[in-house]
Amino acid sequence: MLQAIISTMAAWVIPVFIFVTLVYAFAKKVDVFDTFVEGAQEGFSTSVRLIPFLVGMLVAIGVLRASGALDLLIAAATPLLTRLNVPGEVVPLAILRPISGSAALGITAEILHSRGPDSLLGRIASTMQGSTDTTLFVLTVYFGSVGIRHTRHALAAGLLADLAGMLAAVTICNMVFG
């Protein structure tokens, strides 16, 4: 039932959103196409301005992964996180989630494949994946796009939120499914 609702929603939300927006604007006698184009002008310049920030961050992540330094980091963090009840198998996910969205999704997919999506581990990994974001990426891109150099406490707050989200994912899943 819920799945039907969600998959329907996932399929319909954007078309319905576009439909309502256009019909409403048309009814309000807005010049729909001219207005759309006016807003869309900024799209290219904003995206292109992100290239240096993206290249810098992705290269650093690439080096960290290819060199094996990330594996060392994961190995070092494992005893710490297992003490907080995080299962060893999801530690790589917990470490990678704030750093790289695609790598984290890859690990989640791997856990779901090998352990099964309906195992406790699969459920924990799914909840973790859905409940935290790629903090480092969001921060770099969002601040970079407007030229902010001093990000103050934003990174600390974001990483704390990630840690809280992960521990919450483990605890809640253990309570609900354990």
């Binding site: 996932a10 869309a40 290819a66 409940s131 103050r152």
Partner: protein, 194 residues
């Protein structure tokens, strides 16, 4: 902070690569990552262009008032100093709506737009304002009602009940968001501002 992290990532990567004999792999990773980054930026061009066009329509037609109505209590609580009808507030509300509804690729364009508008309210162009930090904190906690990507992934891997994690996910994002906002409120007093 970001300077230090960036330096630390590359420095430790290169040192580890040298010690473990993986220098070749690192050279390859540098350029394939750079290429991937440019690819991401260009794939963003299409969604940015489209959603910023839609955003203009939503603002000009007055439909933005619907979002303002629904999310205003939350927005007032989080961003008391952003004027209610400022474009920054509009973009923030659109970004939150997109995240809540699981409209993945729409959230980033609205978010970047929000940062641009918040920058016009910022006194110092190189230092993040309180509002920007709060906005980022809320954003990185990925508050959502429909975790579409994970549900799709679970269905694809043969789950008997792909959506059983929706409740736990929403609860966990809520915890993350509360921690993010609390941490932001406490840390902002200690963090450097000019």
């Amino acid at each position: 902070m970001v300077n230090l992290i960036w330096f630390g990532m590359i420095f430790s990567g290169l040192v580890v690569a040298a010690l473990t004999g993986r220098v070749d792999a690192v050279t390859g990773a540098v350029f394939s990552s750079a290429e991937k980054a440019v690819g991401i930026a260009f794939s963003l061009v299409s969604v940015m262009t489209f959603w910023l066009g839609m955003m203009k329509l939503i603002e000009k037609s007055g439909m933005i008032r619907w979002f303002v109505c629904i999310l205003r209590p939350l927005a007032n609580l989080l961003f008391p100093r952003v004027p209610k009808n400022h474009p920054a507030m509009h973009a923030i509300l659109m970004n939150m709506s997109a995240n809540l509804l699981g409209m993945g690729n729409a959230a980033t364009p609205f978010g970047l737009k929000a940062m641009q508008e918040l920058q016009t309210l910022n006194g110092n162009r190189t230092v993040a304002s309180d509002e920007m930090c709060t906005f980022l904190a809320v954003n990185t906690s990925s508050l959502t009602l429909v975790p579409t990507t994970v549900v799709a992934l679970r269905a694809a891997t043969g789950s008997l009940n792909p959506t059983e994690i929706v409740g736990t996910t929403v609860l966990a994002t809520l915890v993350a968001a509360v921690v993010a906002v609390t941490a932001d409120r406490i840390l902002r007093r200690f963090s450097y501002r000019r």
